[in-house]
């Protein structure tokens, strides 16, 4: 299991390849990558992500352990960046390795749903009009009721 919270960009290719290798009894690997969207109308200059250093790793670790207890998983990866990110940059990734695709997919969705609403990150969008904190969406909170 690898969990990283960092300002640096990560190498998706290297991370995904490392995850897919060395698990010969595991047939399925799922990755999710979150990217800073650049909607034409929003004129986004950059996204600033703040987090709660003392709590973040612990919170993500607890979410990852929950996933491992719910599904048959060989490995779990979570990388989440903070600080300044430009449009098009990768914000974060999760990866799951499992014997079967259903476990790999469901666990990745679970990780994403919980990271959205239970990991202590806050996003601020800086546009030419000013700065705005991204509001949590009701649908993201509602997504947790699925599990």
């Amino acid at each position: 299991m690898k969990i990283a919270v960092q300002t640096e960009a990560f190498d998706l290719g290297a991370e995904a390849s490392a995850l897919a290798q060395g698990h010969r009894d595991m047939g399925a690997v799922v990755t999710f990558i979150g990217v800073v969207r650049d909607l034409a109308e929003s004129d986004l200059d950059r996204m600033v992500i703040e987090h709660y250093p003392g709590m973040t790793l612990k919170a993500i670790q607890a979410i990852a352990e929950d996933a491992k207890s719910r599904w048959n998983l060989g490995d779990v990866l979570v990388i989440h960046r903070y600080g300044d990110l430009a449009p098009g940059e990768m914000i974060m990734m999760v990866g799951t390795v499992a014997p079967h695709r259903k476990d790999a997919f469901e666990a990745a969705e679970y990780l994403m749903d919980y990271l959205k609403s239970r990991a202590p990150f806050w996003k601020k969008e800086i546009t030419s009009d000013g700065a705005d904190w991204v509001a949590a969406k009701d649908e993201d909170e509602d997504a947790l009721s699925r599990w």
């Binding site: 979150g34 703040e50 709660y52 003392g54 709590m55 612990k58 919170a59 989440h80 914000i91 974060m92 994403m112 990271l115 959205k116 609403s117 239970r118 990991a119 202590p120 990150f121 806050w122 996003k123 601020k124 904190w133 991204v134 509001a135 949590a136 909170e141």
Partner: protein, 81 residues
């Protein structure tokens, strides 16, 4: 006890962290005490439904005990991922 603020709560209160001496027994008591201090606290805590709280780095409810706690943090709903 350290009290931490994140995102717009931090911006409204003006500091990311401060030491607070209190006899408050629950988060709700602590919020009441802070609100009575200054206008900026009143502004930050005006709508508790828009806030979340962690005691000693664990997400919890406003009626949670803070007796013996080393760290209480207030912030808006998280927007990770």
């Amino acid at each position: 006890m350290d009290v931490l603020y994140f995102a717009w709560v931090r911006e409204r209160i003006g500091v990311p962290k401060e030491a607070v001496e209190t006899d408050a027994k629950t988060v709700t008591d602590l919020v009441a005490e802070l609100r009575s201090r200054e206008e900026r606290y009143e502004a930050a805590f005006a709508d508790l439904s828009a806030l979340r709280v962690a005691v000693d780095q664990e997400l919890t409810d406003f009626d949670a005990s803070i007796e013996g706690a080393r760290e209480v943090a207030f912030f808006p709903p998280m927007t990770g991922g």
